[in-house]
Amino acid sequence: MKKKYYILVLTFLCLLVGKSNYAQTSGGDYGWEIDLGELCLGAGCPDYDGGNPDTGDPCDPWSSAFDYYTCHGMGNNNDSGDPCDPFSNAYNPYQCGGDTGDPCDPYSYAFNYNVCYGEPTIPDPNPCSATSIAAGVAATNLLQNSAVSATMSQMPILFPSNQPPYSQQLEHGFNIKNVGGIISTTPIRQGTATGLPSADYTVSVIADLHDHPAPGSFAPSAQDLFALHVKRDAMSGFKTSYVSSSDGNLYALYIDDPNKLKAFVTNNSGFVGSDNNFKMGTTIGDYFWDVNFDLQRQGYTPQEAYTRATTLILQDAGVSLLKTGAQTIDFKKIDIEVVGDDPNGNTIVIINDCN
């Protein structure tokens, strides 16, 4: 009879083992390589213990009143009074072996961080550098040249993107040449609704201009950046690509650093999508669209977000984005600067334009 009980118990044990082996019905361990966040203790931290009353005890790590120094007797109320204790109010290096006078000695009165380690890195308070101002002046002067402005006046009028007949509009453009200091242009040529084939690019071409008549297409595109590299590679004097936009602005891609531009294109091969935009699926495209999306979350319009995200990519490519109203030509650099990440990992940017 006893043995029958043993058999019964064994049967239950076997069933239990069989069941527990398959208790985890979903793959809960997939995120095992994801790091856990830091545990926050003390004031200003979330209520970890799920709403239990706060003890108010400075020695209770789950309490908002938790304070390590108060609890362990190392706070200001426990001043050692020792002139050699750097944490004491009585600290006086003269009474404790004398001051070294070393600006790199943190215990010396002569300690000076900037003298010892150099100036700390702080954002440039004047984002408009001499190079940026010079780029704006150069782009403005070239477009105000009589030969260029005469050709420019022959360009088709761009309609606001939300009005017809935008669907019938095709891209147009021309090249700007410099032969012995004499500026001239090539005739205006016509492309498709989404592109202008390359033509008339000779060694003397220093700049070109094309328009973006398509609805919803405003600032220079990824394809414009790629084309800038190709033109510069073929013509060493090539410096500026103007884009006339249906939003009423003129933009200019201005090459600051040709080597950086070349390196960017080499390191990001295939970054242009079939729609001329930064291609999703590439590292740079993913970065661009993440920033673009987040700027819209922050309140930027899709157009403004696109333009600003473009400037961020251009920084890596050694190219400045300049902008002017179409009525009064006065190109100024537009830019953003990354100043950090918020707690969610979103990039925090500030506007960094030349005014």
């Binding site: 495209g285 993913d286 669209w289």
Partner: protein, 177 residues
Amino acid sequence: MIATKPKMKMKKIFFIVLVVLVSCKSKQEILSTQQETTKSSKYNNPNYEPLNKFEGDTLKYLQTNFLLTNKDFYKGKPLSILLHDLEIDVKAYSGSSGRDLNYSKSLSLNFYSRQQKKDKIKEKKDPLVLIIDWEVEIPQQKIVELLRKNDGRWTEEEKKYYGQHIIKDIEMVIPNY
């Protein structure tokens, strides 16, 4: 005669234990088969392989089930089908436009938080981004509305809204490092 009886009894016990052990093993196998069948039939994708088969390799899990040959199963269907199958939480998302910035042509599903993703890129590891191209582009206005309302979080509302749109193609970000 006296010695045979306990022997018979022992044989009987041994036989019963053997039957119990075999039944335990069969029970395990039945459970296992049942689980796999449930996965496939639940998701309607006969080639779907559950995450726990990949031993923590999320990249392989995503590639196997949503790229390669399996992506054809999801193409032409609403995103909700894929989301229903997906066994990894979406931590962040973004979208891209085509020629017209007023329309969105694709959605990026991120399985790392933005900060984790930045860290992975710094470490030159795969950022695990699944890209969904839409059959019909979505008005950006609605996307921005949701984006601002939920402060960029992937909530049930996003799941429901994007879930109704039809998948044209599926890709993943291929790092350039």
